[in-house]
């Protein structure tokens, strides 16, 4: 319950990041979700990633819509401002906030209902604008807060808790984002923190729109036999294609990769993503091939996971590059730089005489 204050006691031996913060410093209010909810694992992964990146807590802006997933922005990084907006409209809040201050990191947390039904339009346009943000979908195939209706990501044939079978095809956010030109497209599983944390780190540092669709089982309404979004089903059917390790600029690569196993992609800020392909033929830089592979696995009931597609070339400009905004955030420009002055007004008025 959020009204129960979470004790803020950190054991002195807890590891500290470059800013001297422990993981506890990146936590938020106590979760009010059901025990065992996949979303809480994602929250933990976000905490881990923000700590790992040594992010100044106040520089993280947390945005969400409405639904179980959207509540979670209150459960991490309490030192960053949060905006829990209205159902399906988080992308527009993110767009405006980002327009006002391009220097902060924006993380949006949404659900499959929030993104793929009521918010599908705004989601598509945020991708299209290549808005510089990390967009996480906590995808459980079900409407939790309203007690168990199918969402638009529910698979054909998936069974609801009360027994009815979903007959409509799902909208897949990964395929959609690939189609709309997203520059960072990933899928993961709330139960695989090792895969998820570096994806979040990389997504936060990626310049442009980064999507991580995280399969996140709903323990209350969608974790039964016959559901294709249950823990058991997901564990059995998720197939990592490309593992990504995130390496900040200031850190050396320490992991030992076998010859030919890993390739490196440098992000705009100098940090690197080390990609480890589990399938030698897979190329995460090939948009079409990525989409084809996702579809192929989907048709056999498998979820392809990992960093499915990455374009870190910077060739596709993000929102501010298109708008040509200055480096200094718009909200920091002094009034004097915005007001043209009295003389200019006289000149303007001359055209209306």
């Amino acid at each position: 319950m959020t009204f129960i204050a979470k004790p803020k006691v950190a054991h002195p031996s807890l590891p500290r990041n470059a800013l001297g913060f422990t993981r506890r410093d990146y936590e938020g209010a106590l979760s009010t979700l059901c025990a065992g909810c996949g979303h809480d694992s994602i929250t933990a992964a976000i905490v881990e990633a923000c700590w790992g990146l040594s992010l100044e807590p106040q520089n993280l802006v947390k945005l969400s819509g409405i639904g179980c997933s959207s509540k979670t922005t209150a459960y991490f990084v309490s030192g960053g401002h949060g905006f829990n907006s209205v159902h399906g409209r988080m992308p527009s809040i993110a767009t405006g906030a980002n327009a006002a201050n391009r220097r902060l990191s924006y993380i949006g947390v949404s659900g499959d209902g929030d993104t793929l039904s009521i918010g599908l339009g705004q989601f598509c346009h945020a991708v299209r604008r290549n808005l510089d943000m990390l967009y996480i979908i906590e995808n459980n195939g079900v409407y939790g807060l309203t007690k168990g209706q199918f969402s638009a990501s529910a698979d054909i044939g998936s069974k609801a808790k009360k027994g009815e079978t979903n007959l409509q095809p799902p909208i897949d956010p990964v395929l959609l984002a690939l189609d709309l030109g997203a520059t960072f497209v990933a899928r993961s599983f709330s139960g695989d923190k090792r895969q998820l944390v570096p994806l979040i780190e990389a997504g936060l540092r990626h310049r442009g729109f980064a999507l991580i669709d995280v399969l996140s089982p709903c323990v209350t309404f969608n974790d039964h036999e016959g559901s294709t979004k249950s823990y058991a089903y997901t564990r059995e059917h998720y197939e990592p294609a490309v593992l990504a390790d995130f390496v900040p600029r200031e850190r050396e690569i320490t992991a030992d990769y076998g010859a030919g196993e890993a390739s490196e992609v440098t992000l705009h800020d100098g940090s690197r993503i080390v990609l480890r392909k589990l399938d030698a033929d897979y190329d995460p830089a090939d948009r079409q091939a990525a989409a084809a592979k996702v579809q192929e696995r989907m048709s056999s009931g498998e979820y392809l996971t990992g960093l499915i597609y990455l374009d870190a070339s910077g060739e596709r400009p993000e929102f501010h590059q298109v708008n040509r905004t200055p480096e200094a955030p718009l909200n920091s420009l002094p009034y004097e730089a915005l007001m043209p002055g009295r003389k200019a007004l006289e000149k303007i008025l001359a055209r209306y005489r």
Binding site: F3, L63, S85, S92, A100, C124, R324, Y335, L345
Partner: protein, 608 residues
């Protein structure tokens, strides 16, 4: 026989949409304006790109009246489809100009008007080549004929053309030629000028001719707005276009090409208002412009902004509803929809500019109020103000002005705080303090539309919820004292007129007529919602107040009865909702019909 009317008559031009008559009409307007004579232009256009009927009304008024006069003295009938109604509309003793290339016996059906035939098409076909050029030049040609008929200064017209086509000498040449064709033909075939004459005056110095959307956009530039998000909708689109074009000229770094503004065409109005909220929440001055349908779509976010206390500026350039209605006609039909937009107990600060001049200043005020009060502020202009050219005094800018950014804690103030609480009423005015993202972790808070305590935490506790809701009411009281006060004209009469927005110009003219006839009547122009005490006082002091507004359902009257102590019976509605701007004669007739029914019928007051 028509009596001579110097600088006091109305011209109406009936054409087909998309034939390029706008430039001819602007030319006529400007040439009259530059001869020092007050002039007004109103465009009655269809929701169409090409082919439907369109009219343009030019009122020449030595007394400076800028409302519709309610009569037509000279009709330029160039659209065969509307001949019948156009002929009917000419006042007895008036004039009608038509294209006499083809015989039009229908136009000769009025013995009480003078019909003037000018073979526009024939002359243009002889002198110009190319279908498009011929059509365009036909318009310029009638402007030339009118110049002769009304004794406009032909040199001034040439000068205007030279300014317009400074960079296109070929176009200048054909335009000058077309003007001359019309001018010479009229001079050779008719007695020029007509009894309707323009004589130079000196009443337009220190004035400009500008539309409200342009003026509002300029106000946004000067107020320091940096994030503009919108979705195209008539009649608000030109406001955003103007903002962009001013910024392109005034806010682009000449060396780097960087732009000190963000201009975002959103996917719909829901996204547009969301972007405005996101940007305002994050400390930028941000706004959107829309019309009624957009306001409907924005309702959900407006409720969030009210409850979560996020500043926002929304221009509602009202058009005719309900639903899609008549997109290119004017109305004051969104008063209720804006005042109480969104579900639950919500109420919003609204400003009601009466003309482009006020659009400029109220744009600035809207940002100051939105940030001071941490709430959406809606500026309710309308199509008549927004898209028509109005004569108004030069816009002035006080360089000492600095934006009121409201209660935002800076880094140093935050450092000194032990703890930050977002919704605490520390100052007793109902306005809490806010912080911006990225400043300090201690100042972070969670913005939500769900129930929250005064400390910003989620709540479902009745007392905590009510505490915040009641504090919002205290803020509403503060708003009453901060919004622009109503303007009162006259005192001590038993009768009053109460109105708002673009109805003002017609009312002021009607007041002159009524008072000229010995009717003692005062006038209150509401400029904002919530209403200040002066509104309450005016209503209490008058036995009967006529509430003049441009909608069917008496929305202003409803607001007054809901929000003040006035008895319903003391408010008499005068409602004009044809989609055309209200004329002074409508108001004069309405008032007289109530107070002196016999007088209203016996005299030709409509054309006084």
């Amino acid at each position: 026989m028509t009596t001579r009317r110097v600088n006091d008559f109305t011209i109406k031009i009936a054409t087909v949409n998309g034939t390029g008559s706008a430039s001819a009409n602007t030319l006529l307007m400007k040439s009259i304006f530059r001869s020092g004579v007050p002039v007004m232009g109103k465009n009655f256009f269809p929701s169409n790109i090409q082919g439907l009927p369109t009219w343009y009304e030019i009122r020449v008024s030595r007394d400076g009246h800028v409302a519709r006069s309610g009569r037509v003295d000279l009709m330029v009938a160039l659209n065969p489809e509307t001949y019948a109604r156009d002929v009917k509309e000419v006042a007895p003793g008036g004039f009608l100009v038509y294209d006499s290339t083809w015989p039009r016996p229908a136009l000769l059906s009025r013995p009480d008007i003078t019909v003037i035939g000018v073979p526009l098409a024939q002359m243009c076909n002889e002198h110009f080549s190319g279908v498009r050029t011929r059509i365009l030049m036909k318009n310029i040609c009638y402007a030339g004929a009118l110049a002769a008929l009304l004794s406009l200064d032909i040199e001034r017209i040439r000068g205007l053309l030279a300014e317009t086509y400074a960079k296109k000498p070929q176009l200048l040449e054909s335009n000058v030629q077309a003007i001359k064709l019309g001018y010479d033909y009229a001079r050779q075939h008719f007695e020029c000028p007509l009894p309707l004459t323009v004589e130079p005056m000196d009443r337009t110095a220190g004035h400009i001719m500008i539309d409200g959307n342009t003026a509002a956009a300029l106000g946004c530039v000067y107020a320091g707005a940096t994030v503009a998000a919108w979705y195209p909708i008539t009649p608000s689109t030109s406001l955003m276009d103007a903002f962009k074009s001013f910024c392109d000229r005034l806010r682009v770094d000449p060396e780097t090409g960087t732009r000190r503004f963000a201009f975002i065409q959103a996917e719909d109005e829901l996204a547009a208002i969301g972007m405005v909220l996101g940007a305002s929440w994050n400390g930028a001055r941000s706004f959107t412009a829309t019309s009624g349908p957009g306001i409907s779509l924005m309702n959900e976010f407006l409720g969030l902004a009210y409850y979560a206390e996020v500043p926002a500026v929304i221009f509602d350039v009202q058009r005719v509803g309900p639903s899609t209605g008549m997109p290119t006609r004017t109305q004051q039909g969104d008063l209720m929809a804006c005042a109480y937009a969104s579900h639950g107990d919500t109420r919003h600060v609204c400003l009601y500019p009466a003309n482009p001049e006020e659009c400029f200043y109220m744009a600035r005020d809207a940002f100051d109020l939105a940030e001071r009060l941490q709430t959406p502020v809606m500026v309710l202009s309308d199509l008549d103000i927004g898209m028509n050219d109005w004569m108004c005094p030069d816009l002035e800018w006080d360089e000492a002005y600095r934006p009121d950014r409201g209660k935002v804690l800076g880094l140093e103030e935050i450092r000194k705080l032990e703890k930050f609480h977002r919704y605490l009423d520390k100052d007793g005015d109902g306005i809490p303090w806010r912080t911006l993202p990225g400043v300090h972790p201690k100042a972070a808070y969670f913005t939500r539309g769900s129930g929250h305590t005064q400390f910003g935490a989620y709540t479902e506790d009745s007392a905590d919820y009510q505490l915040v809701l009641d504090r919002l009411l205290r803020k509403w009281d503060t708003a009453k004292r901060r919004v622009p006060p109503a303007i009162v004209d006259g005192a001590g009469s038993e009768l009053g007129i109460v109105s708002l927005g673009s109805s003002d110009s017609a009312i002021r003219e009607a007041l002159a007529v009524l008072r000229g006839r010995g009717v003692a009547i005062d006038y209150l122009r509401v400029r904002a919602f919530p209403f200040g005490e002066e509104v309450e006082r005016f209503l209490a002091a008058h036995r009967l107040s006529f509430v003049v507004e441009q909608n069917r359902d008496a929305q202003l009257r409803s607001l007054l009865t809901l929000e003040t102590a006035v008895e319903k019976a003391k408010l008499r509605s005068l409602l004009h909702y044809s989609g055309l701007p209200v004329s002074s004669s409508f108001i004069v007739e309405g008032v007289l019909a109530e107070i002196a029914p016999a007088a209203a019928q016996s005299q030709d007051i409509a054309h006084a």
